[in-house]
Symmetry: D2
Subunit: 290 residues, 4 copies
């Protein structure tokens, strides 16, 4: 349910807390503490008030907050609705038997070592990077890992706030992936070029994430990914330039260049990745642009 | 068995014919006719003498020559040894059930229309381009198709001659695929870069054709394909630049560029394809070079 | 003096005509004719009304309009203020003795052949392209040349209207030249890169037209040329990437790449030319972008 | 006068010394010492014997060798023939009054500080880099500078040996500058492209060093510079691609790309600089290749 910041600023305390209690998992006390700091001129100010409440809580309460989160892979247990939708994004409900076993092994090792659930803002990750995070965080000392868990809880909270509250400002929780196709043999944007974006798995399997066609300016009408974090992982863009050049007079059977694949990694979920393609019938170039 | 041109020039006629009778399938009369034109200063001269003999034969004999060839897909029939090795190259002995049915359907249609076997120099083709040839040649008029069959027979003969006879000259029957990796951030060849070459099927499956590692000059010690025709088809080169840049100090987890795939088609089996990669940690370019 | 379209729509006829009489040189009748068509919702509508008045005038009056224009090179005669400022742009007041002679020779030839002044919207041209226009238009037939003269008069008028009238719409009379510098070795915009734009003369002399420094996004805060037509001619951009790479750790004395010159022509005065530079310490690329 | 190494190995001692006495300026004792080490299987062995003789000489004799060299700018004094030809290369005989004064000022400062002539292998330098060397070496301590002078004397000697003696091996004293033009819109070498190579002075004046036209392979028949050291300095290559693209059907008046200038520095006189141009009608790229 969408709420405005104005509404939250003027709501009764119980309504305020009820509206925001799901931002921090099973911890309505965070919303209660923030409520006392009203009014908030910006969403950032509200977010800061909530994270301040957590930061200034005593360690026992912080640990309680951490332990209030569900296991990442706890499939049979009751997940809160918000957690469930987030975890479906990284398709943890759809693991192969082998992956599931690896996942559960890591999860068990983590809980054994730290006595707390493995918390991760999964919307910032792909399946591959979640496994990588497990491996890496299992090496952490206990206090470092508690700190890491809080950081992830704040990321989850920021995304939930951004999803639910309409405000004059925006939290920096989303990334952007865009592209642009130039025909360097004619010095103009390449229009009508079909583009596909795939996520690339550890075993090089491709999963379609977006499809688009370039417009008269050689761009897509909307970014390939927007209004969400860019999941850390490996990607492949495919540009159907063969059909474009054929329409513009270049022949060849098959053409020297047909589908151009560009494979790259994104590691900044809140970043802007611009991946242009400069193509002529027998040459192309790409780069991380801005 | 390798023979020198000198040896052929001075051999007894029966030996000459015996040595060359397999160049034109079941047609020793071609070698006999060429024998009368000895000596040959070059392999090209010998080849021309043989093709002249076919060209000047009457149409009935030409048709006999054509019909002397095995069906491309005749898997149970007795193939001559030379044909068998050539057809294994395009893996016609390893077709899926569905492909085999398509293949046999086209083959039957061809024989029904033209009353002669479908002849193709398969070493110049991939599975995909063979099927494409079938489709296209089925549209031909009868006389055009006879001419096409002779052209293919000459290509087969030229390759067989090049395989069996050592001469001062070489027939232009082989192609070349080479590459070169430059590190444009350091202005020097990229050494130690692993490269894989794949053939890409119609359904985008990849079949490894060659592997290599770049040397100190950023090149491979030997061309990726040489001493054979380049089969008409689609290919993908993969360059492991991520490991190279990591060795040279560029970090990222994962790196923005790791495996760079370059997908291209080759349509000139006797051509030289040079496909360089110019790479920096966040940019690359490729082109058909020379 | 700037006027709003609203003001023109509601002004007394004499004021309307007085305000616009200089749009068409010594031809207040054009403004008078347009006045009768008020009100104009857009500047384009006003402009069309004025050109319609010229188009529907009889040939004698059109010729009168043409002859009312000053000679392009008439340096001693009295120029109207608007013409004078425009011609200073292409520096016709600053010609070498040799160029001046060539100019006057062409001008005399033109007047002899056509009995009318050579009219050209000089703000769309450089000295070189003016001379080229002379050469080309001297080949025209008389009626083609009258048509050409009217086209140029309309271009002059459109620019004058755009300069003097504030309206909700804009006439398409201006062009844009922009750039963008990417550091492809680090995958980010190159900031602090000094850029110079030169006009290149027929004898390869360079005249500075603009200077700028790239901002954090690798772009210049304002386009290199904007709010005016792009004079048809040859240009050189110079990017001081050596200093940029030195600040970022690449050494070399001197550096392999220091000042990168990019030479290009612009032939569409109302177009958008985007000329990016993709640079690494030992490599660069450029293209006409969008 | 050219001599073979065999001839030197078997010549009388006086002839050997006479043949090589000019290799080290006014120091026949170096040739004498080397003579005792004959025979030399390679030119490198002969060169090493001569430099060993200098290295093992006592400091007084080394200083004598250094002082036996002419002043770099000593224009009125008698230069040995070999020195004269070498210095004409960097055009020290053709300095402007202002440059000459700067030159003489640096020269005087050097002699005052070090009491010895400024020795530099000028064939490895341009005017600009000579002045840079002066500035830098004036900062040196006396012993460092004596060592530097010997290094330069060895470079001069190596070049003189390479010029005069024919041997099975070659001293690594020469560099190479080559280029290659690819048409990336057609995937083939660009032939018939006129190329000019200029040396760029500190004040951006261009001096022609070489002209060439690309052949069918897009290369020049001979390297732009070969069989000599590459003078340390700044250079500009100009490629007339406009004419090439016009011949191949791309229009534009003027064309977007006409003369493409590439400006770069060379700092390794014995290196190989390969500077390719990848060009399409609206795009190009260059890089230091190999």
């Amino acid at each position: 349910m969408l709420l405005t910041l104005d509404h939250l600023n003027s709501a009764a305390q119980t309504d305020f807390v009820a509206a925001l209690e799901s931002i921090f998992e099973r911890a309505p006390w965070v919303a209660e503490a923030a409520c006392a700091k009203r009014p908030f001129p910006t969403l950032a100010a509200l977010f800061n008030a909530m994270t301040d409440a957590v930061r200034s809580a005593d360690p026992t309460r912080q640990l309680q907050l951490i332990k209030g989160h569900p296991d990442l892979g706890e499939r049979t247990a009751a997940l809160t609705a918000a957690s469930k939708a987030e975890q479906a994004g990284a398709r943890l409900d759809d693991l192969s038997k082998k992956d599931l076993e690896r996942f559960e092994r890591l999860n068990t090792a983590y809980q054994t070592k730290f006595s707390m659930p493995f918390i991760l803002c999964v919307r910032r990750h792909t399946r591959e990077s979640i496994l990588g995070q497990f491996d890496r965080r299992l090496q952490n000392a206990r206090d470092v890992e508690r700190e890491t868990a809080l950081t992830e809880i704040f990321r989850i909270a920021a995304l939930r706030l951004a999803d639910h509250v309409i405000a004059p400002d925006q939290l920096k929780v989303h990334g952007l992936l865009s592209t642009h196709v130039l025909d360097t043999s004619r010095g103009r944007p390449a229009d009508g070029v079909s583009i596909e974006l795939f996520e690339v798995s550890a075993t090089d399997e491709l999963r379609v994430m977006a499809k688009a066609v370039t417009n008269a300016d050689g761009r897509t009408d909307r970014p390939l990914i927007e209004k969400r974090p860019l999941p850390i992982g490996r990607y492949e863009l495919r540009f159907a330039v063969g059909a474009y050049f054929a329409r513009n007079g270049t022949v060849g059977d098959p053409a020297f260049l047909d589908i151009i694949p560009i494979r790259f990694a994104m590691t900044e979920p809140e970043g802007h990745y611009h991946i242009p393609l400069l193509a002529a019938p027998y040459s192309y170039a790409t780069y991380r642009g801005s």
